[in-house]
Amino acid sequence: MGSAKKSSAARKARIEEMRRAEQARERRARILTIGAAVVVVGALVAGGVFLVRSQKDDSDSASNDKSAGRFVTGKDGVKKWEGTLARNHVTKSVSYPVTPPVGGDHHPVWMNCNGDVYTKEINNTNAVHSLEHGAVWVTYNSEAAEEDVDALAAKVRKTPYTLMSPVDGQKDPIMLSAWGHQRTVKGADDPAVDTFFAQFVQGQQTPEPGAACTGGLAE
């Protein structure tokens, strides 16, 4: 009887001990959860502030009759068109504010962009339509190194929703364009190439998601 009472008291004490341990665990878990939430929220706020700030340093500004706006360079080196880009179908030539163009009125027929590599200049009005379908356009001028051009052509050929062509009038040797976005890269092995492809090939900027890169103009 006495020993039973004693063991019952010991059991109570042990249960009490386990409860305390349980509560301590819950407190730690609670602190961890709240801590993690605070860190995540803080990181989001900091990221947002960074993004907003990175948009502020501007560069070339321009406009034409229907598209209006200017390029704003982000911290990641990608220029983003801030403003409007017209999307009418036209068969005449269009004067675009930037070279190569990143949007605006365009020809009714898109340039095929299913990993198509063009070795001659193409009409920018057709290429802009490809950008509208979510393609990334790789362009180069005569200053681009031949090995870079070859390596980029090989990359484009194995990447659906990209196209490549020479653009003599552009200011940098190698440039990448998507609807409303553009950047210069140093060469074919510049890691910014993969980053740009990952972000913009059928990316969120695409005005017509799901539209094709086949069935358009082949040359």
Partner: protein
């Protein structure tokens, strides 16, 4: 014992609250982070627009067999490719949300427009505003050349008008960010194609119905 229960309860509440906060912080981009219900506008739009798009794909395949005109054939190619792919996105979301592809309620109930398409009785396959009837689809398959082009452009103009209206419904009622983005591209893309088709109809001495 009672004391412990209160503490445990409070601890659980804080844990749940903290967890929810953490979850919201991670998942809370523009969509609020929860899975839509079968009755939601998000699910309704995904279901109904998938059906609506399917007829546009079918209509486009038909006209490509009825004319050699490159301009119309290319427009039909563009519409078929785009809407088939968008249909895949819509159905894919329903799969991810583990929601049925059909509802016992009439189409567009989520827009407060349930039953409007067949208000006049037998809808003859035109389940939603803008959709062609089975008889119209059959007729398209029997016309040739310019007559097929004109009828296709007229049917597709009506189809796009209904599509734009439904996509606007999603824009005002849907909660999921990626879905709202797709709906916005539909409003803008189809609106501009309506204008394009108006020009193509004029070139053929015709106009929208």
């Amino acid at each position: 014992m009672k004391h412990f229960g209160v503490i445990a309860g409070a601890a659980a509440l804080v844990l749940v609250g903290g967890g929810a906060l953490g979850y919201a912080a991670v998942a809370g981009d523009e969509d609020g982070g929860s899975t839509p219900s079968a009755e939601s506008a998000d699910a309704g739009f995904a279901r109904d627009m998938a059906v609506h798009h399917q007829q546009a794909v079918e209509m486009s395949y038909i006209v490509r067999d009825r004319t050699e005109n490159e301009e119309v054939r290319r427009l039909a190619y563009d519409i078929a490719q785009t809407q088939a792919n968008q249909r895949g996105m819509l159905l894919g979301w329903l799969d991810l949300w583990e929601l049925p592809k059909v509802s016992a309620d009439p189409p567009m109930t989520w827009m407060g427009m349930g039953g409007t398409a067949d208000a006049g009785g037998d809808a003859d396959g035109a389940l939603m505003p803008g959709m062609a009837t089975d008889a119209e689809m059959k007729r398209l398959g029997e016309l040739n050349g310019k007559q097929a082009e004109i009828f296709y452009l007229q049917l597709m103009t009506d189809h796009h008008k209904g599509g734009v209206h439904m996509a606007q419904g999603c824009l005002s009622k849907c909660a999921v960010g990626v879905e709202r983005r797709l709906a916005r591209t539909m409003v803008e893309g189809q609106q501009s194609e309506i204008e394009l088709m108006a020009g193509m109809l004029r070139d053929r001495g015709a106009r929208a119905r």
